[in-house]
C-alpha cells in the first residue's frame, strides 16, 4: 500500500508533466478539452453490454501517450489505482443480472458479467483520458479553457480550489499520521480513539490551512482568475486536431468497426 505522502507526490508529478514541450503540449487547451469531452461522451454513451465497440477507443490514450511523451507506466499505474473503486460499484451486477448473453461451450455468460467488464473498460478509458488531459495541459490551463469555452467563472474557480484542497488535505494527513506513528512507538497508537481525534483535528487543520493559502493568494493579487503561463490561441492546427479526433470517435461509436472486421474475416474464412 502506497503511503499517503507518496500518493500526493505522485499526483503532483502528474501536474509537472504538463510542463513538457511536445507539439501536443503546445496545442490550445480548449482543443484538448473538447476532444476529451467528445471522447468521454462517445465512450460513456455505449450500451451497458457493449464490449467490442469499446476496444478501438484505446487508440486515443495510446497515441496521446506516445505523442506527448508521457511515462506510460506511470499513467497506467495511476489509472490502475481506481480499479478497486470501479469493481466495488459493479460488484453486484453479476449477482442481480442473469440475462443469458453468450454461450461458450457449456458455460453461459450472463449479462451481469458482461456489464461489469464493460463498466470496467469504460472507466479505464474515461479516467485515462482525463489523466492524459491533465498531464498534457495542467489543471490551471484546463480550468482556464473551460472558462473561455463559456463555463461560468464561479464553477471553474470552484474546480480549481477543489483541486488545491485535495493537496492541502493530503499534506496535512501525511503530517498528522506521521506524528501519530512516531509517538505510538510501533504499537497501534490507542487505536480508534486517537484515530478519531486525529481525523477531527485533520479536518480543522485542513480548513485553516486552506484559508491561509487563500489569504496568501489574495495577498498576491488573486481576483478569482487563474492565469496559465502558456499563451495560445485556437488556430488551424487546433481545428484539425479537434475535427479529426472527434470524427474518429463518432465513427467508432456509430459503426461497429471491430464487429465488421470480424465478420469480414470470418466471411473470408468459411
Amino acid at each position: 500500500m502506497m503511503s499517503i505522502n507518496a500518493a500526493v507526490i505522485d499526483l503532483k508529478r502528474l501536474e509537472l508533466l504538463a510542463d513538457g514541450n511536445t507539439p501536443t503540449h503546445a496545442l490550445d487547451a480548449r482543443a484538448k478539452v473538447l476532444v476529451t469531452f467528445v471522447f468521454i461522451v462517445c465512450v460513456v454513451s455505449c450500451s451497458r453490454y457493449e464490449l467490442t465497440r469499446l476496444i478501438p477507443f484505446f487508440i486515443f490514450p495510446t497515441v496521446l501517450i506516445a505523442l506527448a511523451n508521457l511515462p506510460a507506466l506511470f499513467v497506467a499505474r495511476k489509472i490502475a489505482l481506481i480499479s478497486p473503486f470501479v469493481l466495488m460499484v459493479g460488484l453486484f451486477n453479476p449477482v442481480f443480472d442473469h440475462t443469458d448473453l453468450y454461450q461458450i461451450g457449456h458455460i453461459t455468460i450472463t449479462g451481469g458479467w458482461i456489464s461489469l467488464i464493460s463498466l470496467f473498460i469504460r472507466s479505464l478509458l474515461t479516467v485515462g483520458a482525463a489523466f492524459i488531459l491533465i498531464g498534457t495541459t495542467g489543471f490551471a490551463a484546463v480550468c482556464q479553457a473551460l472558462e473561455r469555452l463559456g463555463i461560468p467563472r464561479i464553477f471553474t474557480v470552484q474546480l480549481l480550489f477543489l483541486h488545491r484542497y485535495i493537496f492541502v488535505l493530503a499534506d496535512e494527513t501525511s503530517r498528522a499520521s506521521r506524528a501519530r506513528e512516531l509517538r505510538s512507538c510501533g504499537k497501534k497508537g490507542f487505536g480508534v480513539v486517537s484515530f478519531s481525534s486525529l481525523v477531527g483535528h485533520l479536518l480543522l487543520r485542513t480548513w485553516h490551512q486552506a484559508a491561509r493559502i487563500h489569504t496568501a493568494m489574495l495577498a498576491r493579487g488573486f481576483v478569482g482568475q487563474f492565469h496559465a503561463r502558456r499563451q495560445s490561441r485556437f488556430g488551424v492546427v487546433e481545428l484539425c486536431y479537434l475535427l479529426s479526433w472527434s470524427s474518429l470517435f463518432i465513427a467508432l461509436r456509430l459503426f461497429d468497426i471491430t464487429g465488421t472486421i470480424g465478420k469480414v474475416v470470418t466471411g473470408i474464412i468459411p
Binding site: 503532483k12 493559502i213 499563451q231
Partner: protein, 256 residues
C-alpha cells in the same frame, strides 16, 4: 512620498474564540523607515502584521496606507503596495513549480510573457534561489522555501515590504543573504524577528509588543539599553551589546 506611510490607529483584534490578540495599538511609520516589531511568542506580532494588507480584519481601529484607508474597496490597491511574507512558507507556496509560484503575483498584476519571466528570474536571483526555478516547492528544504517565499513577494515590486520572521530557520549564510537583501530594499520595511542582532543591524526603529500592547517605540539603540524593559517583555539583549568581546568585534567588522 506620502503614499508609503503606514498609519495604524487604535487597532484592536479579538479572535473568534475570544482571544484578545491586539489590545490598542497605534503607530505611524513614514516612507523609507525600517522598523522591527519584537516581542515574546504569542505577543501578537503576526496578528498585527496580517492587518497591514488586510489579511485579517480589525475588530476596531483604522489602518491607512498612504492616503488610502484600508477597506474592502481599496484592498486590491493596498495589496499591490504592501508585499507580505508570511511566517510559514508552506502557507505561501502553492503552485506546481517554484517558477509558477513566483510568477503567480506578476500574472495577477496583468504582466505577460517576457516581462513575467524577467521579473521571476530577477526575484529568484535576488534571494539566491535561481537554481531552484524548476523544482516543485514541496521538495525544498525549510530555508529554501523561505527564500522562495520572499522572492514571490519581491516579484511584485511592492512599495512596502512586510516580513514575519524572515530569518527564522535559516542557516547563517542564508541569514546574511537575507539581511543584505533587506538592507538593499530602500522602501519602507516592517518585520518581526527574534534575531535581535539583525534588528540592531538593520532597523533604526523598534517597537516592542507585549501581550497585544505596545510597550516601547523608539530608536533601536536606546530600547536595547533599557534592561528593565527587556526583562518585563521576556527579551534578551543582543549579543553585540552584551559586552562580549568576540561578538562585538564580529559585528563591527561587518558594519560599513
Amino acid at each position: 512620498m506620502s503614499h508609503h506611510i503606514v498609519e495604524v490607529t487604535h487597532l484592536q483584534h479579538i479572535y473568534p474564540d475570544g482571544t484578545i490578540a491586539i489590545k490598542d495599538v497605534s503607530f505611524c511609520i513614514t516612507h523609507g523607515e525600517s522598523v522591527a516589531i519584537i516581542g515574546a511568542n504569542g505577543a501578537g506580532k503576526s496578528t498585527l502584521l496580517q492587518h497591514l494588507n488586510g489579511c485579517l480584519e480589525a475588530t476596531s481601529g483604522q489602518i491607512r496606507i498612504g492616503d488610502t484607508p484600508l477597506s474592502k474597496r481599496t484592498l486590491p490597491d493596498i495589496r499591490r503596495t504592501v508585499g507580505m511574507v508570511f511566517q510559514n512558507p508552506d502557507d505561501q507556496l502553492f503552485m506546481p513549480t517554484v517558477f509558477d509560484d513566483v510568477a503567480f503575483g506578476p500574472l495577477n498584476l496583468g504582466l505577460e510573457g517576457m516581462h513575467v519571466e524577467k521579473r521571476v528570474t530577477e526575484a529568484l536571483t535576488q534571494v539566491g534561489a535561481g537554481h531552484l526555478a524548476t523544482k516543485p516547492p514541496y521538495h525544498l528544504s525549510g530555508g529554501e522555501k523561505k527564500r522562495v517565499a520572499i522572492a514571490t513577494v519581491l516579484a511584485m515590486t511592492p512599495d512596502i515590504l512586510v516580513l514575519d520572521e524572515p530569518t527564522s530557520g535559516l542557516d547563517s549564510f542564508a541569514r546574511r543573504q537575507i539581511m543584505s537583501l533587506l538592507k538593499e530594499f530602500h522602501h519602507t520595511k516592517i518585520f518581526t524577528s527574534h534575531d535581535l542582532d539583525m534588528v540592531l543591524d538593520i532597523c533604526q526603529r523598534t517597537i516592542i509588543l507585549h501581550e497585544g500592547a505596545i510597550m516601547a517605540d523608539g530608536p533601536t539603540g536606546e530600547i536595547f539599553q533599557n534592561d528593565d524593559l527587556l526583562a518585563t517583555c521576556h527579551l534578551e539583549k543582543p549579543f553585540a551589546l552584551q559586552g562580549c568581546p568576540g561578538h562585538s568585534r564580529d559585528t563591527d567588522a561587518t558594519k560599513p
